[in-house]
């Protein structure tokens, strides 16, 4: 029997086969969408570049060469040119991918569980628990995200770690809202009633029944938000509140290049293009994931 036939079997013979079969069916749906595949390729590319940064970089990302400052792309072995301190832009971009990826991964790890937990608990328990948790959420939602992040960074001090913390603190409320809304529709369904009739504890129902259903919409939303998070990180870097020099953070790189934008356009344009492409990649990936994961569309 071929692997495909095994995966698509109507009557799987083990838990593993059932789960892999579901995964494969989802993958088939996903892979039929060319835009989603493009998004996946971009995100996978980002991960690869970040992982292999030392191999891909032609120069050190921080080594200055004042003799070769503002070299245009392609000249003297600098594929994408050099910046005002003569640093190779290609090498800085490649190393910057690590920072971007770290920011994205860290916020995802910090934000999604918090939002999910707050939203699911609030939605399932209702009553005063819901009221308290949602008012706290509202407080965070009341401020524009970038402004709130700026305030946090101003309080904590500039730096990439603090930027991540600031982004995380300002990003979780929308996930709590989504998780809560989903939970409230799930809470009244018969399969939850059946679980309660079996004597299942609230924790078991939340973890085993509610979270798996809310998780997919939160994942989709996180992926779609990644673009925004990258932009905020870049924005903080641009304002000098994120990554500090000489760190090759993309936003900071744009900030450094803005003085030369008319004559030496590549200094700002190269990291700008990188931000654009990666944001687009996450958006496309999120859209594709939504088509596969949204249970309402199945």
């Amino acid at each position: 029997m071929s692997l495909t036939a095994w995966l698509l079997e109507e009557a799987p013979r083990s838990r593993l086969q059932a789960r892999l079969g579901q995964g494969y069916a989802g993958w088939r749906l996903f892979s039929r969408n060319p835009l989603a595949m493009a998004g996946l390729a971009i995100v996978a590319g980002l991960v690869l570049v970040a992982a292999a940064a030392p191999l891909l970089a032609t120069h050190s990302p921080v080594a200055q060469d004042l003799a070769a400052r503002l070299t245009p792309p392609g000249a003297a072995g600098h594929w994408l040119g050099t910046d005002d301190l003569g640093r190779d832009i290609w090498s800085r971009l490649v190393h910057g991918a690590r920072i971007t990826l770290a920011v994205v991964a860290l916020t995802m790890v910090l934000v999604a569980p918090v939002g999910l937990a707050v939203g699911c608990v609030a939605g399932y328990r209702g009553g005063w628990v819901d009221a308290v948790l949602m008012r706290v959420t509202d407080v965070f939602l009341a401020f524009p995200r970038l402004i709130l992040a700026l305030a946090f960074v101003a309080a904590l001090g500039p730096g990439i770690e603090n930027a991540v913390i600031a982004i995380a603190v300002t990003s979780w409320p929308p996930y709590a809202r989504i998780a809560r809304a989903e939970t409230m529709t799930i809470r009244n369904s018969d399969f939850i009633a059946a679980a309660r009739l079996q004597g299942a504890s609230a924790a078991r129902i939340l973890w085993g029944h509610v979270v798996p259903l809310t998780l997919s919409s939160v994942i989709v939303r996180v992926t779609l938000d990644m673009a925004g998070i990258i932009l905020i990180a870049a924005g903080l870097g641009f304002l000098g509140l994120g990554a500090q020099p000489p760190s090759p953070e993309w936003g900071a790189m744009i900030a450094g290049g803005r003085k030369y934008i008319l004559d030496q356009w590549w200094v700002a344009a190269m990291p700008g293009v990188a931000i654009c492409v990666v944001s687009l990649g996450f958006n496309l990936l999120g859209d594709g994931l939504r088509d596969v994961l949204d249970p309402k569309q199945r």
Partner: protein
């Protein structure tokens, strides 16, 4: 086995409070099959949810197996009383395999020997092992309802609450499910409490029935009387008449 006395259920509070069930009393003997019949809004499902513990906002007394029931139910209650829902599409978790759906109650009640129990439960509802690792969306409505019945019976309950268990199913599938419920009841000596609007199903499945209207029981009767069409209450007679199909009244 089930003894309900003066059960009243109100929804909402203050002025907008709605009394869904007003002072309902009835008893179901051990091994008996009893039906609550009525139209939508009569409160029949609300009674069932109050007995099952799903709805805590009730007053009156509910005794199951001689034990007085409060707002919160014990693990022993959950093992003894199980329920099958109306909608086979909504009562199974969409992301759980049949295996997980059936394994969960065994794990919650710490019965052990899940492997053998799951296989037997599937066998009993007429589904082979080939269904064990499927997801609900790979099953038909009738198959899903069989899984829901297997899930209820895997705890070996003594009381089975049935909330319109076949009204979402096709006629031919309904016949299969009703036969299955009849067989399981006979084999296990189950006590059934069936909520339905369909008098023909009551006649097939039950010994006694209570007819509900606007939150009250208007009549409690034997099924033998139902079959003969002998009802004391006018509303009951009206329901029996209406369930025979359309009667053309020659209008002037």
């Amino acid at each position: 086995m089930i003894d309900v006395r003066d059960l009243t259920v109100r929804f909402g509070g203050g002025r907008s409070a709605v009394t869904a069930v007003a002072g309902v009393s009835f008893r179901v003997a051990e091994g008996e099959s009893f039906a609550l019949v009525g139209e939508s809004g009569s409160g029949k499902s609300t009674v069932l949810r109050a007995i099952s513990g799903l709805n805590p906002d009730w007053t009156g007394r509910v005794l199951v197996g001689g034990a007085e029931q409060g707002r919160r139910r014990t693990a022993a209650f959950h093992k003894a009383v199980q329920m099958v829902f109306q909608d086979p599409y909504g009562s199974l978790h969409p992301r759980h395999t049949v295996d997980r759906i059936l394994a969960e109650p065994v794990a919650i009640q710490r019965l052990g020997d899940a492997e053998r129990r799951i296989e037997r439960a599937l066998e009993e509802v007429g589904l082979g092992g080939g269904f064990r690792f499927r997801y609900p969306h790979q099953l038909s409505g009738g198959q899903r309802q069989r899984i829901a019945i297997a899930r209820a019976l895997i705890l070996e309950p003594r009381v089975l609450l049935l909330d319109e268990p076949t009204s979402a199913l096709d006629l031919s599938v309904q016949a299969e499910i009703l036969n299955l419920l009849r067989r399981l009841r006979a084999e296990r000596g189950l006590t059934l409490l069936l909520v339905t609007h369909n008098l023909a199903i009551v006649s097939l499945m039950c010994e006694r029935l209570a007819v509900m209207q606007a939150g009250r029981i208007v009549e409690t009767m034997d099924v033998a009387d139902l079959r003969r069409g002998e009802a004391a209450d006018g509303y009951t007679r009206h329901l029996i008449e209406a369930s025979r199909g359309y009667r053309r009244v020659t209008s002037a």
